[in-house]
């Protein structure tokens, strides 16, 4: 019977990859929308602590970032494993914070200069001594609005 013709050959048909570009483009657009360009390479470890009583930061042009934490592994033989401050792309000491803030402030538009926020992106393992020193420096230059940048999460994650 012609209806039950034997299938010719036993090979599997090739899977069509015609939709592969679509899938990849979809991923691409997701990443383009959900992420931002990094503007400075992180040289410190930066696993932020978790908190849930958080407020969103202001627009990006009104924020200056101060990073702190232990130098990441490839900088450790040069800079040691003590927690350090990173400003822009360089390691800095506490004394440089004030100058950094003033320079950042001067680079912003006039009307934004009084509404700047300092975002402290500090690694969870850092000791408070360093942060207190940063805060004292910020007080000296009157940069009083600060934000401890955190992950969204329950505080109990911090106690482990």
């Amino acid at each position: 019977m012609s209806k039950f013709k034997k299938k010719k050959g036993g090979e599997l048909p090739a899977i069509s990859t015609a939709s592969l570009p679509d899938i990849v483009f979809m991923l691409l657009f997701f990443f383009m929308v959900a992420t931002v360009m990094r503007d400075s390479t992180l040289m410190v470890t930066n696993s932020l602590p978790a908190a849930d009583q958080i407020q969103k930061l202001d627009k990006k042009d009104r924020v200056m970032y101060i990073y702190a934490g232990k130098p990441s592994s490839r900088y450790q033989d040069k800079y040691g494993s003590q927690a350090r401050i990173q400003l822009n792309d360089k390691f800095a000491s506490v004394g440089d914070v004030a100058a950094f803030v003033l320079a950042e402030r001067a680079s912003k538009r006039q009307e934004l200069q009084n509404v700047l926020t300092t975002a402290l992106k500090v690694d969870g393992e850092t000791n408070m001594g360093l942060i207190t020193d940063i805060k004292q420096e910020l007080r000296k230059v009157n940069a009083l609005k600060i934000n401890y940048t955190t992950r969204v999460g329950d505080y109990t994650q911090n106690m482990k």
Partner: protein, 207 residues
């Protein structure tokens, strides 16, 4: 001449191009965390004579160098901090002019007079770990937010929002200025009822 059909462009390498772009974006971008606990530092100018504050209006929270928490000089677990802070802020033990008519606390004579007088003093050591400090800050802010939420829903039952939701909407840049104007008085009212008075002492030296 016979019309020739245009040859089809081979789209087989489209996936490769897309992958290339994808990998470029994966490498050069980060998912930004742009939220956190906002604080305001005190200005540096020395206050010539500090106001006299009654001992019972101060709630001392100390985190020592081993990350242990001491509240009013007694050991406390972090899980109990929020309740203790709420009990202190909402106590309303004052009389006469200092009475607090919206407080729902125990009206204990040995605790705070009213939320306006109540000050939380946070002190940490130089060796305290940052993440524990953030956890403590988080719980203290949560205590204020819980109380503000309660009063906000009581005063504005028609809005169907809590204080934190309303504040979030107020901070959202997409909210229209009309709505902001409508939200502002109710937010300010609750903020005045429970002002956030969180003072941070200079840390103690370890040596």
């Amino acid at each position: 001449m016979a019309k020739r059909a245009a040859p089809e462009v081979n789209a087989g390498s489209m996936a490769d191009i897309a992958f290339l772009l994808l990998i470029f974006f994966l490498v050069t971008t980060t998912i930004e965390t742009d939220s956190g606990i906002s604080r305001k530092l005190p200005p540096t100018d020395e206050i010539v004579d500090p106001p006299i504050i009654k001992e019972r209006n101060i709630f001392t929270v100390v985190v020592n160098k081993d990350n242990r928490l001491f509240v009013e000089e007694e050991v406390m677990e972090l899980d109990d901090l929020r309740q203790a802070a709420i009990a202190f802020l909402d106590n309303g033990g004052g009389e006469g002019e200092e009475a607090c008519d919206y407080c729902q606390g125990k009206r204990d004579k040995s605790s705070s007079d009213n939320p306006e007088k109540a000050i939380i003093s946070l002190k940490n050591d130089r060796e305290t770990s940052y993440k524990v400090y953030i956890a403590v800050q988080n719980e203290l802010v949560a205590a204020y937010n819980d109380l503000r939420d309660r009063e906000y829903t009581r005063l504005n039952p028609m809005k169907g929002l809590t204080y934190t939701e309303a504040q979030k909407r107020y901070d959202d840049p997409r909210t229209t200025s009309d709505e902001k104007e409508r939200l502002r008085p109710s937010l300010d009212e609750v903020k005045a009822m429970y002002p956030q008075k969180l003072s941070e002492a200079e840390p103690s030296k370890t040596n």
